[in-house]
Subunit: 173 residues, 2 copies
């Protein structure tokens, strides 16, 4: 199982001052991913079991770093197990973004060529599965460089997608 603490998420949250202030206090576990990788051939599949703890940094919810697949055509099915989540999907070529609910016993389809980040918008741990082609591979570098164009923030008690730049402007940074 891979554990991701707050210190592993530098550059993910829009509000860097809030991030550094939180990190100065504590370095909590934000999420874990356990991978199930039975075989690596063509036609094989892998599965990841994710858990994201509840929390917020500067108005943004606790979330994964997010990734593209190294094999860009590779899709992924996410299946909610418990808790309340959303997924932020961003088409690589166009930047077109959408926020999709991830709930227990329901699926979210992430098409190929789409950056995806999983976000816990509830007050309990969010757990989920992701099933993807064994040959997909994970590309974290593109996200580390450009992050996502949009962020999920709470508005009137519900998650809403807004432009990262609009969030920064509203904070006067």
């Amino acid at each position: 199982m891979v554990k991701h603490h707050l210190s592993d998420l530098r550059g993910c949250f829009a509000d860097t001052a809030a991030y550094e202030a939180a990190l100065a206090q504590d370095d909590p576990l934000v999420y874990t991913v356990a991978s199930v990788t039975p075989a690596d051939g063509d036609g094989d599949l892998h599965c990841g079991v994710g858990l994201i703890r509840p929390g917020k940094i500067g108005g943004e919810y606790f979330m994964t770093r997010g990734h593209l697949h190294s094999w860009r055509a590779a899709a992924e099915f996410y299946i909610g197990l418990s808790g309340e989540g959303v997924m932020l999907l961003e088409e690589e070529a166009t930047g077109e973004s959408r926020l999709v609910e991830l709930r227990p016993n329901s699926v979210v389809y992430v098409p190929g060529h789409t950056a995806h980040r999983t976000i816990n918008v509830g007050r309990t741990p969010l757990t989920y599965l992701g099933v993807y082609p064994a040959k997909a591979g994970h590309d974290y570098a593109a996200i580390a460089k450009n992050n996502f164009r949009c962020v999920a923030v709470e508005r009137n008690g519900k998650p809403e997608m807004i432009e990262r730049n609009d969030l920064l402007a509203s904070k006067g940074t």
Copy 2:
């Protein structure tokens, strides 16, 4: 959604006399599969949502017809949602068979080149997801011709895998 009634399962249950007797009384719905097929390219995935009702015919539990993938190398992840199930897996080349539990929030990996059948061993509906490469395809013909080598029957209140021929011998057929 595709509905499979008892009359669609001719040839699946070992005890053909029990099957015909049950069918003469009623033709109940045994299982349904709803497919989620967002795209069909390389790297894309499809998903099936299955529901198998509880029941038995001649000592065997209600089950799916079972299939191999047309693209034999294609694997599949099954995810239990509710109820108590098992999966019967039979390697095509060797006939090697095993029975694996399918429970809520847990996964079963079906490797390529492996015939697989889902079986409801509980008293409530069994629901589950199957995620597979979009290009997998379903081959039902091989199963229709040879069926599975083994069957799942209840022994001391638990599902147990035995040779089909042993079940037939025990019934004197």
